[in-house]
Symmetry: C2
Subunit: 204 residues, 2 copies
């Protein structure tokens, strides 16, 4: 089955956004590349913002679905956090640079598209908050953890990557995810060696 015209337009837009940059690409460029007039393009899409969203929509939906599965699973919370961060970073890597443009522009995009979008950043953050709250309830995470602020912190750490990520960089997305996970779980301090029992305790 051949892809629909809309799918073709989205694929061409994705390629041009990558080659020329999102800002430099015009709807005229996209229309020309699919062999139609700009006027006809408007039959399929309303704006360049909408096209950007369509480019990232499926990967983002998959990442949301995967995060929902992780949250619903029975694994230890530390494992779930590792999986969720890897999920996030992998999305990032596979759909570079489109996700970067989306992350930069989403406050604006969401404002324009909010009617039709279910997978919002707010919803994503709620899933993360639920995941952390599970860990507090089970005793795996600190009892006094502010799960909302911790979710913001983790999302900040992971989302900011779009500012410095280089898909050809020294570290892979999975390696960055592993370093982030350890930092979130254990922090940066060197663990104190367990103090040896005092002589009076050891020898009753």
């Amino acid at each position: 089955m051949s892809p629909s015209k809309e799918q073709e337009i989205v694929a061409v837009a994705a390629r041009l956004f990558k080659e020329k940059g999102y800002r430099a690409t015009t709807l005229e460029d996209i229309a020309a590349a699919v062999g139609m007039l700009k006027g006809s393009l408007y039959y399929y899409i309303r704006s360049k913002e909408e096209l950007l969203y369509l480019v990232v929509r499926d990967p983002i939906r998959q990442a949301y679905t995967r995060l929902e599965e992780i949250v619903a699973s029975q694994a230890p919370v530390a494992t779930k956090i590792a999986q969720a961060i890897t999920n996030h970073m992998t999305l990032f890597h596979r759909h570079y640079p489109h996700i970067a443009v989306y992350l930069h522009d989403f406050p604006h995009l969401m404002h324009k598209l909010q009617q039709s979008v279910r997978e919002t950043p707010k919803q994503y953050q709620r899933l993360w908050t639920t995941l952390l709250a599970q860990g507090v309830a089970s005793g795996e995470l600190r009892r006094d953890l502010d799960v909302k602020i911790a979710a913001y912190a983790i999302l900040g750490m992971c989302n900011w990557v779009y500012r410095w990520y280089d898909p050809r960089g020294k570290l892979s997305a999975e390696e960055i995810a592993a370093l982030f996970t350890r930092m979130i779980l254990e922090g940066v301090l060197r663990p104190r060696p367990a103090s040896p029992p005092a002589a009076s305790e050891a020898v009753p």
Copy 2:
């Protein structure tokens, strides 16, 4: 001494950016508010981007200087990390929303203004990397910490705040800084209780 014309223009721009939003404010609005023609404004400044930078330049310089002092000080690294995060969040709070606009636009701004700016995000990140490297060298932080990635993680956590920070929110900038600091230092896992010595060890 009355402020110079440039200082007056910068102060008016800061007020209008806050009231109307950066994007909605035009150079015409700013010229009108200081009682000059747009053409005359160009005698003092080259663009709206430059004005945004001038609005945040002094606070950013102060934050850099303070971070340099923290890095150079003799305090324990955990204390320095707490101070550096508080410094970052306080800058954020005091100069809301201008710093938020700056954080959103700085890749673009830096590109345009790079000749004249010493306090770049790159330089800020280097200071953080140095601070973390001090902690690894002194044994206060994990020996295997990737200090560059950890600096990126911390900056991401702190910078992303511009997307959700509400200056009238429930938590103050200092409280958010304290929660972030604890998370960075100790992570989110509940510390394991030191395991009691096995009977065979306790009673030789």
